[in-house]
């Protein structure tokens, strides 16, 4: 996601992690920071202001005297980034007992129609009853597109066939009226046509809709790949409509996303959501602190954690956990587990969110496709009989050859998978006892150990030393618990 900006900033900041800070190298470092921000499409003026502000905070006795100046400098950068992108307000301010009207607007191709669908899906999940209004009468087949999205979600779509006398203002009005009359609708989402902020006529149309209907929330949909011009369009839309929020789209690419900083800085309007994929469930809450952490190369474990909570089917997890604890773990479970993990996003996405792993996914290069490895594993497991899946021990040479043929791989690949599985069954058993977060960490370790790439030579489990990898974890956990206990005790004593 913000990988690009992260990378260049990390480069810029390596300056500060080396040696002592002097006023001079702070300035040099700040220049590097500014350049990194500019390369990330942060608006020139915003970048300049940002750097000046950090300089004000950083250059001075405060930093130079501190014990770990580079840390403190990064702290200041982080804090300023959070301030620049925050504060957030994720709420759409829905009022119970009344139909809330949301209006989406933006430039052509920013992703309004898709975002309408994503918002509707999100609202559905929150127990709301959304309705979509197709007010994009400009782009051919835009109405069709919204209808199809509505169908996919099972959400009503209000539209009027284009013709004389049919205009966006009227469609919106009738749409809202229809929503109010329906009785089974709590939120109406208006999908307006994309327009250039310099197109006076079309901007007036938006103002008209705003005046007639006064939507409760007006959201600007902004492409994260936008360059320096992001400030101009965001400002124009804000001047015309007084925006309530911004939704940043297409953040799943390698856009550095400087637009996030620029738009927030210029309009002061909070970024509410981010779009991170083409599927309708790929809409996430915007978190400036996490984004800032990401920008500074600190990873984003919290996001990953939340994602996992949403996606993991709790019941299934519990069932598996029970099985694991009993030491019964079959290849079928293994496959189910992987499907669960895959629901959370592509492996590469996941890798990027784990601190330090972003680099690893870089190192793997663009040829490496973890998904491919996973589907190969799936193929192999699919080619087994149920009995073989339950008890892989029974797989002998001839069975192995059959499985390999069935899934179009080498017999050695099958062997490798089986070896991996045996290894993993052991790890999984340990995982079963852990909480969600620890489990995720363990999964990421699995990833590292080569689960993602069945072709990679695997390290066979070595003779365990006294405190082998697994015991070490237990030991660490024990230590952690002890520390917690001690802390609690101290608190108690204080009282």
């Amino acid at each position: 996601m913000f990988e690009g900006i992260t990378e260049s900033l990390t480069g810029a900041l390596s300056f500060f992690t080396k040696g002592r800070l002097t006023e001079r190298n702070i300035e040099e470092g700040l220049r590097a920071v500014k350049q990194a921000l500019l390369e990330a499409d942060v608006n020139y003026a915003v970048a300049q202001q940002f750097v000046d502000r950090v300089a004000q905070q950083a250059i001075g006795a405060q930093v130079l005297k501190s014990i770990n100046p580079s840390q403190q400098f990064i702290g200041i950068l982080h804090q300023e980034l959070v301030q620049l992108m925050g504060p957030v307000d994720h709420s759409l301010h829905l009022t119970p007992g009344r139909v809330t009207v949301l209006m989406l607007c933006g430039l052509q191709g920013s992703g309004k129609t898709t975002t309408c669908g994503k918002l509707a899906k999100r609202l559905l999940e929150e127990g709301q009853k959304p309705m979509l209004v197709a007010a994009d009468l400009q782009r051919p087949a835009a109405i069709e597109q919204l209808k199809i999205i509505g169908q996919q979600l099972g959400v009503p779509v209000y539209s009027e066939a284009p013709g004389p006398g049919v205009n966006a203002v009227r469609v919106c009005e009738s749409g809202v009226r229809e929503g109010e009359r329906n009785g089974d609708v709590s939120v109406v989402i208006l999908d307006t046509a994309g327009r250039l902020h310099v197109d006076d006529e079309l901007m007036r149309e938006l103002e008209q809709i705003d005046r007639r209907l006064s939507p409760h929330q007006i959201l600007l949909v902004c492409d994260a790949m936008t360059g320096q011009d992001a400030v101009n369009s965001a400002k124009a839309f804000n001047d015309a409509l007084e925006l309530d929020g911004v939704i940043l789209t297409k953040l799943d690419g390698d856009a550095r996303g400087g637009a996030a900083l620029s738009v927030k800085a210029v309009t002061g309007v909070p970024i509410k959501f981010i779009g991170v994929g083409e599927q309708l469930d790929r809409l996430e809450l915007f978190h400036p602190d996490r984004m800032a952490s990401r920008v500074l190369g600190m990873g984003d474990v919290v996001s990953l954690f939340e994602k996992a909570q949403q996606q993991f089917d709790r019941e299934e997890m519990e069932a598996q956990q029970k099985k694991l604890a009993e030491g019964k773990f079959s290849l079928t479970d293994f496959r189910d587990q992987m499907t669960q993990v895959r629901k959370m996003g592509t492996m590469r996405d996941l890798l990027k969110m784990i601190p330090g792993m972003g680099k690893i996914s870089e190192m793997l290069g663009s040829d490496f496709d973890p998904e491919e490895g996973l589907s190969q594993i799936n193929g192999i497991i699919d080619s087994m009989t149920p009995a073989e899946r339950e008890d892989p021990e029974i797989i002998d040479i001839s069975r192995r050859r059959r499985i390999a043929e069935g899934s179009g791989v080498d017999p050695s690949d099958v062997n490798q998978l089986l070896k991996q599985f045996t290894q993993m069954a052991g790890v999984m058993k340990n995982i079963a006892g852990l909480g969600m977060r620890d489990r995720l960490r363990a999964v990421s370790q699995l990833a590292e150990s080569g689960m993602l790439n069945p072709g990679a030579s695997l390290q066979l489990s070595k003779q365990r030393s006294k405190r082998g990898p697994e015991d070490k974890r237990e030991f660490q956990d024990k230590r952690k618990k002890q520390r917690k206990e001690a802390k609690k005790q101290r608190k108690k004593n204080k009282r």
């Binding site: 690009g4 350049q35 500019l38 390369e39 990330a40 499409d41 608006n43 020139y44 003026a45 915003v46 300049q48 202001q49 502000r53 301030q83 620049l84 430039l107 052509q108 191709g109 920013s110 992703g111 400009q138 782009r139 051919p140 087949a141 835009a142 109405i143 069709e144 597109q145 919204l146 209808k147 199809i148 999205i149 996919q152 250039l196 902020h197 310099v198 492409d223 790949m225 936008t226 360059g227 320096q228 011009d229 992001a230 400030v231 101009n232 369009s233 297409k250 799943d252 690419g253 390698d254 856009a255 550095r256 400087g258 800085a265 210029v266 002061g268 083409e278 663009s366 496709d369 998904e371």
Partner: protein, 313 residues
């Protein structure tokens, strides 16, 4: 929010600065100072041309004019020469302004195949319609292949355009393999003996590897149906795109060997300066620019007027 107010005030100042003509910034008769150069550098950055190109221009100015009295014409010729240099690349590719089809590489005989690709929302479908219109006006027969089988109603969108333009279109139901659309399109084009086949594709972010592989497959399929095809692979780039455009150009070229770009949506305030960065880092020329929503709003890219426009307003 003290910070925002400060930022806003700061921006207002910068905005005022940037919306005055560069000519006010670099006044004749004054001495060109470092501070002035830096301000001008900000101006360059705002065109999205990227840090590298902007730095190159600034350094050129610094080397030639720093500390001297500003003579506008001299400064301008330095800036423009450098920019055009960056834009045209080594080969200085230029085409005759009179022929709107000059940049296109036509098959020596038989069907010419144009493959169009780009990220989501760049303006592919609209650009295809405009290009088809341009071709038809020049007396070429055109067949469209609706290869965006992913996005809801994308096929309908292109179908509507084909009806308006009065050209044939090949479609497959939404969700089918885009390579099969390309295949059928190629077969049909040969059968019908049209001059040009334009193949639409679904928008995809350049980092989505499976989708990029799908794109390469479309290219291979076209090649198999019509030897030598595709003759043109055009990348549609949104003019508001920032430095990510470089990554788009690189990764799309890796997947389908792009031969040129269409710079869409240049009718806003965005300058599309990223094409300078792209041109500088790889030999991918801009062939057309999209200047509006009307079907006729597609024009030949002209580096000279583009450079002039970069500093307008």
């Amino acid at each position: 929010m003290g910070l925002f107010d400060k930022l806003k005030r700061g921006l207002q100042k910068t905005k005022d600065l940037l919306f005055t003509d560069v000519r006010d910034l670099l006044k004749a008769g004054e001495i060109l100072t470092d501070a002035k150069l830096e301000e001008f550098y900000g101006r360059l950055i705002l065109t999205d041309m990227g840090v590298v190109a902007a730095t190159a221009i600034r350094e050129e100015l610094r080397a030639k004019h720093l500390g001297r009295t500003i003579v506008l014409d001299e400064l301008w010729s330095t800036i423009k020469a450098k920019l055009k240099d960056l834009l045209k690349g080594g080969d200085g590719a230029q085409w005759a302004a009179g022929d709107p089809l000059a940049p296109l590489n036509f098959a020596s005989r038989g069907v010419t195949v144009v493959l169009v690709a780009g990220v989501n929302g760049a303006g592919k479908t609209t650009s295809i319609a405009k290009l088809a219109n341009l071709l038809k006006k020049q007396g070429k027969s055109v067949l469209l292949a609706a290869g965006d089988t992913f996005r809801a109603a994308a096929v309908e969108q292109l179908t509507l355009w084909s009806q308006r333009l009065g050209c044939e279109i090949v479609t497959r139901p939404s969700g089918s393999d885009p390579a099969s659309v390309a295949h059928v399109g190629g077969m049909r084009a040969v059968e019908a003996g049209v001059d040009v086949l334009i193949v639409d594709t679904a928008g995809r972010l350049q980092t989505q590897q499976n989708l990029m592989k799908q794109l390469s497959k479309i290219r291979r399929v076209l090649e198999a149906v019509i030897p030598g095809a595709p003759h043109e692979v055009l990348l549609v780039l949104d003019a508001t795109t920032g430095q990510n455009g470089v990554s788009q150009a690189k990764l799309f070229s890796e997947a389908v060997a792009c031969t040129g770009m269409i710079l869409a949506k240049l009718d806003g305030t965005a300058k599309g300066g990223v094409v300078v960065a792209i041109r500088q880092q790889m030999a991918l020329p801009v062939k057309y620019v999209g200047l509006g929503e009307q079907i006729d709003d597609l024009e030949l890219f002209d580096p000279d007027s583009f450079v002039e426009a970069l500093f307008e307003k």
